[in-house]
C-alpha cells in the first residue's frame, strides 16, 4: 500500500498540526446565550454576533477558505479545508454562522464572478463579517426551481429587479444575497441569470425583508420582496442567460457534491443550558436510560432497543460511506455516495429525533417552555426542525429523483 493511501500529504500533516495547536489555545469558551442547533435556526442577534467573532478568528488563523486562492482571501492550499474541518470537529467548536455564504455563495462567486467582484466579496464572506442568503425559491418556484418569475430588466448599465422570494433563510441578518431570476420570459432554462445583490443596504430602497414564523414558533426564514431594486452589472455572475448553469454550481455544493469542500465547524455542546445534543445516538441512549415505560426504563424495552441500534448502524454507515467515497476502487459511480449525503443525513436526524419522541412517552408532550421537559424540550424542537431540511435544499423526493436519474440512469420524472 502506498503511503499516500494511508496518510496526510506533507502539507496536510503540517497544516493539521498547526490547526490542532491553534484550536487548543483559541477554541471559544461557553457562549453567553443559547446557541441553536444550526445556523438556519439563528434568530437571536447576540448569538449571531458571538458566532461571527468565532468565525472571524478562525478565518484570521487560516482555517476558513483554506483551498481558495490567496487573491480571494483564501489560504491557497491543496485539500486542506478537510483537515481544518476535521480538527474543528475534533475540538468540538461552535458552528460557523455564515453557512450559506461558505457552502453556496463562495464557490459560485469563485467560479463565476468577475475578478474584482470576487476579490472584494470573498474575504468578508470567509470572515463572517458579511452574512449571505440565498434567493432562489419563490411562491411558484420550489422544486421546479427554473420556474423563476422574479425579473431583472437591463436599463442602461444596470439591472432593475422586481419579484418575490420566499423561505429565504438568514435574510433578516444578511448583507448579501445570491439571486436567481429571469431575464428572458421566452426560454425557461436559458432565460435565467444570476446576480449577487447587496440587500441590507437596500432595505427600504427596493428591498423588503419580512420574517416568516416556522411551525416550531421560531423565526429563521423570510420573504424578500424586490420593487425596482437597481443592481450594478458588475454583480452579474457569468453571462446573461447562463443563470441555470451557475445555479448548478450552487446546488452541487449545497448538496455536498461540489468541487470545493465547505468550511465547516461544529461539535460543541453547551454546558450552560440543559439542552440535549439532539444529533447523537449516545444522547439518545442517555435519554432512554432516564425515561420510563411500564416501570422499566425505555432502554430496557426490546422494541426501542432495536430502533436505537438501527439508527446507530445508519450513523456508522454514513461515516464509513464518507470514507469509502474517497476510494475510487471501491465505488461504482463517482457521484453515487456524494449525492446521497443530503438525503441520508437529513433523514437520519429526523428519525433520530422521532425515536427520542417515542422514548420520552408522556413527557414528549412537554416543550421548551416547560421546566420538566426531558433534555430541555430540545428533542421535540429538533424533530420539528428536521422537516426544514428534508424539504429545503431540494426536497428529499427530488433528491431521490436525482439519484435515480443521474446515478442509476432511470428516465427523468420531471
Amino acid at each position: 500500500m502506498a503511503d499516500a493511501d494511508r496518510k496526510d500529504t506533507q502539507e496536510q500533516a503540517e497544516f493539521r498540526a498547526y490547526c490542532r495547536d491553534w484550536l487548543t489555545n483559541n477554541k471559544p469558551g461557553q457562549p453567553p446565550v443559547r446557541i441553536p442547533l444550526g445556523a438556519l435556526e439563528l434568530s437571536d442577534p447576540a448569538a449571531l454576533q458571538w458566532l461571527q467573532v468565532w468565525q472571524k478568528s478562525a478565518f484570521d488563523a487560516g482555517l476558513v477558505g483554506c483551498d481558495y486562492p490567496v487573491e480571494a482571501g483564501g489560504g491557497g492550499r491543496n485539500n486542506c479545508q478537510t483537515i481544518a474541518n476535521q480538527e474543528m470537529q475534533r475540538a468540538k467548536t461552535p458552528f460557523f454562522p455564515n453557512i450559506i455564504g461558505l457552502g453556496m455563495a463562495a464557490p459560485t462567486v469563485l467560479f463565476h464572478a468577475q475578478e474584482d467582484t470576487k476579490n472584494a466579496l470573498l474575504p468578508r464572506l470567509f470572515s463572517g463579517e458579511d452574512i449571505w442568503c440565498q434567493g432562489f425559491s419563490e411562491p411558484g418556484a420550489g422544486s421546479d426551481l427554473a420556474n423563476q418569475q422574479t425579473f431583472a430588466e437591463k436599463r442602461g448599465d444596470s439591472w432593475v429587479i422586481n419579484g418575490h422570494k420566499v423561505w429565504t433563510s438568514l435574510a433578516h441578518f444578511a448583507n448579501w444575497m445570491i439571486l436567481l431570476c429571469r431575464t428572458d420570459k421566452a426560454d425557461k432554462y436559458n432565460g435565467l441569470s444570476y446576480f449577487v445583490v447587496p440587500i441590507q443596504t437596500a432595505i427600504g430602497k427596493g428591498v423588503t425583508v419580512r420574517p416568516l414564523i416556522k411551525l416550531t414558533g421560531e423565526t429563521g426564514f423570510n420573504e424578500v420582496i424586490f420593487e425596482d431594486l437597481v443592481v450594478e452589472d458588475k454583480y452579474r455572475l457569468d453571462a446573461v442567460g447562463a443563470g441555470w448553469k451557475v445555479a448548478m454550481t450552487t446546488l452541487s455544493h449545497e448538496r455536498g457534491a461540489g468541487q470545493l469542500v465547505t468550511p465547516s465547524a461544529g461539535g460543541m455542546t453547551q454546558d450552560n443550558t440543559k439542552g440535549a445534543n439532539t444529533s447523537s445516538p449516545s444522547a439518545l441512549i442517555e435519554l432512554a436510560k432516564t425515561s420510563y415505560r411500564n416501570g422499566k426504563t425505555a432502554a430496557d424495552d426490546p422494541l426501542l432497543r432495536d430502533e436505537i441500534i438501527k439508527i446507530m448502524i445508519r450513523q456508522e454507515a454514513f461515516r464509513q460511506n464518507q470514507r469509502r467515497a474517497l476510494v475510487p476502487a471501491l465505488i461504482d459511480h463517482p457521484m453515487r455516495i456524494p449525492l446521497q449525503n443530503k438525503l441520508i443525513g437529513t433523514e437520519f436526524n429526523q428519525d433520530l429525533a422521532e425515536i427520542a419522541y417515542d422514548i420520552q412517552g408522556a413527557a414528549s408532550s412537554l416543550y421548551l417552555n416547560d421546566e420538566n421537559a426531558p433534555g430541555g424540550g430540545e428533542w421535540q424542537l429538533a424533530y420539528m426542525n428536521s422537516f426544514g431540511v428534508t424539504i429545503a435544499a431540494g426536497a428529499n423526493e427530488v433528491q431521490r429523483n436525482i439519484l435515480g436519474e443521474r446515478v442509476l440512469g432511470m428516465p427523468k420524472s420531471k
Binding site: M1, A2, D5, R6, I285, A288, K296, T297, A299, D300, D301, P302, R305, D306, I308, I309, K310, M312, I313, R314, E316, A317, F318, Q320, N321, R323, R324, L326, V327, A329, L330, D332, R336, I337, Q340, L343, I344, E397, R400, N401, L403, G404, V407, L408, G409, M410, P411, K412, S413
Partner: protein
C-alpha cells in the same frame, strides 16, 4: 486509537485481484449460463442435488483465490481480509455456486488456531482444497460454544447441522465438546464414520447438509477450551465476508431491475419513470452502499488490529455489517421480484436465483435482528 488506512487497505494488489475476478465471472458465469446449470428442475420434490463446476474451481484456485488470505507462513499469499471481501462480492454478483465462502470461513477460523496442525490444513487450502465448517447445532445456534458433537479419546461423535457447501468440501473443521471445553478438529470429508445427509434447501446455488460423526478419528487443530475462542475471533471476518457476498448479489438485483425498469414500457412510459418504482430502487442503492461501507470497514478493522487492541469496535462493525446486509438482502430481492411483475414471479426469470441466495444469506451466521440484539447489549447495556 489505531490508525486505519483511509482506503480500507484496498490498494493496487487488491484492485488487480478484484478486477481479475470481475473478468473471470463475466467470461464464465453469466446469469443465463447459471440458470441452465442449476435451475434445470423446478420440481419442489426434486432430488436434492449438488451442482457446481469443479473445472471453474480449479481455475480460481490457480488464480490464487483460496491462497489469498492464508498467511505466508502457512504457504499462502497473506493478503488482507478486504481482498477476500472483494472476491466474495464478485462471487455474490454472479451467485457463483462454489465452496469459496465456506473455504474462506474455514481459513478465518484456522488462522485463529495458532497450531501446527491448523497450519497444515491452511496449506492445503492454499493449494486449492475446498473446506467447510461443521460448527452449528440442531437449533441453529451461532454461538461458538454450542455444538451437538462431542470428542472423547480423539474420536468425534454426534451431528453437526447447517453445514454449508458440505458436499463440495473435501475437509471439515468440526467444533466438539469434551469435559475440558470446546475444541476444533479436522477431518477429511470422506473419512470413515462421516455421514453426510444433504438438506433440501431453497437456494439453488448452494448445498447444505447435516453431518453425523460416528467414532471418527480427528486431528485436533484447537485444544478444548481454545476452539470456541478461535471461532469467536473468526466470526467478525465471517460476518463481513458473507455481507460482501450479499452486497454483490444485491447490486446484481439492483442493476438488473433498473435495466428492466428502463426498458419495460407501460402507460407509454418506461417503468422507471414512475416514482413508485424509481424511489424504492434508490432506497435499495442506499442500503447496498451502507452494507458495503460497513463490511469493508469491519474487514479493515480486523486487518489493522492484529493485536486486537480495539476488538470491541471490530466486533461492533461486523455485527453492523451483517445486520445491515441482511435487511438489504431481503429488501433488494423483494423489490426485484415485485418490479419485474408477472415475469418476476416465474421460474424462467433469473431473479429467483439471486432472491433465493439472498434469503439464504440473510440468515447465515445470524439475521439482522440477531445481530442487533447483540449490538444492543454491547452499546446500550443488558436489558433489565
Amino acid at each position: 486509537m489505531i490508525e486505519q488506512p483511509k482506503n480500507f487497505g484496498f490498494g493496487e494488489d487488491e484492485t488487480m485481484l478484484r478486477d481479475s475476478a470481475k473478468k473471470f465471472f463475466s467470461d464464465h458465469c453469466s446469469a443465463d449460463k447459471l440458470h441452465r446449470q442449476v435451475a434445470g428442475n423446478p420440481d419442489i420434490h426434486r432430488n436434492i442435488e449438488c451442482i457446481w463446476d469443479k473445472g471453474l474451481w480449479q481455475q480460481i484456485t490457480e488464480l490464487g483465490w483460496t491462497a489469498a488470505c492464508v498467511p505466508e507462513a502457512a504457504g499462502g499469499i497473506g493478503m488482507p481480509l478486504v481482498a477476500a471481501l472483494a472476491l466474495a462480492e464478485e462471487a455474490g454478483r454472479a451467485a457463483f455456486p462454489s465452496p469459496l465462502i465456506s473455504t474462506f470461513n474455514t481459513t478465518f477460523v484456522l488462522r485463529e488456531c495458532n497450531s501446527a496442525a491448523a497450519n497444515d490444513v491452511l496449506a492445503e487450502i492454499a493449494g486449492g482444497k475446498p473446506m467447510s465448517l461443521a460448527i452449528t447445532n440442531q437449533q441453529g445456534s451461532w454461538e461458538p460454544t454450542d455444538t451437538d458433537v462431542s470428542i472423547d479419546k480423539g474420536q468425534l461423535n454426534g451431528t453437526a447441522w447447517f453445514v454449508q457447501d458440505a458436499r463440495k468440501a473435501e475437509g471439515l473443521v468440526v467444533s466438539a465438546r469434551s469435559a475440558a471445553g470446546v475444541g476444533l478438529y479436522y477431518v477429511a470429508a470422506d473419512a470413515a464414520g462421516v455421514a453426510i445427509a444433504a438438506d433440501g434447501i431453497i437456494d439453488l446455488t448452494r448445498d447444505q447438509a447435516h453431518i453425523s460423526f460416528t467414532g471418527v478419528t480427528a486431528v485436533e487443530v484447537a485444544a478444548p477450551g481454545a476452539g470456541d475462542v478461535a471461532l469467536a475471533y473468526a466470526l467478525p471476518a465471517i460476518q463481513a465476508v458473507i455481507a460482501a457476498d450479499m452486497v454483490g448479489a444485491g447490486e446484481w438485483l439492483l442493476q438488473t431491475t433498473v435495466e428492466y425498469a428502463n426498458t419495460r414500457v407501460q402507460f407509454d412510459r418506461p417503468l422507471g419513470f414512475f416514482q413508485a418504482v424509481k424511489h424504492p430502487l434508490v432506497n435499495v442503492m442506499l442500503d447496498i452502499d451502507r452494507a458495503k461501507s460497513l463490511a469493508y470497514s469491519a474487514a479493515c478493522a480486523i486487518d489493522s488490529d492484529p493485536e486486537r487492541q480495539e476488538w470491541a469496535n471490530t466486533v461492533k462493525l461486523a455485527h453492523m455489517a451483517k445486520a445491515n446486509a441482511s435487511d438489504m438482502a431481503v429488501f433488494a430481492s423483494s423489490r426485484a421480484v415485485q418490479f419485474h411483475g408477472g415475469i418476476g414471479f416465474t421460474w424462467e426469470c433469473y431473479v429467483h436465483l439471486f432472491f433465493k441466495r439472498q434469503m439464504h444469506n440473510q440468515m447465515l451466521f445470524g439475521d439482522a435482528r440477531y445481530h442487533r440484539a447483540i449490538l444492543a447489549d454491547m452499546l446500550i447495556g443488558q436489558a433489565a
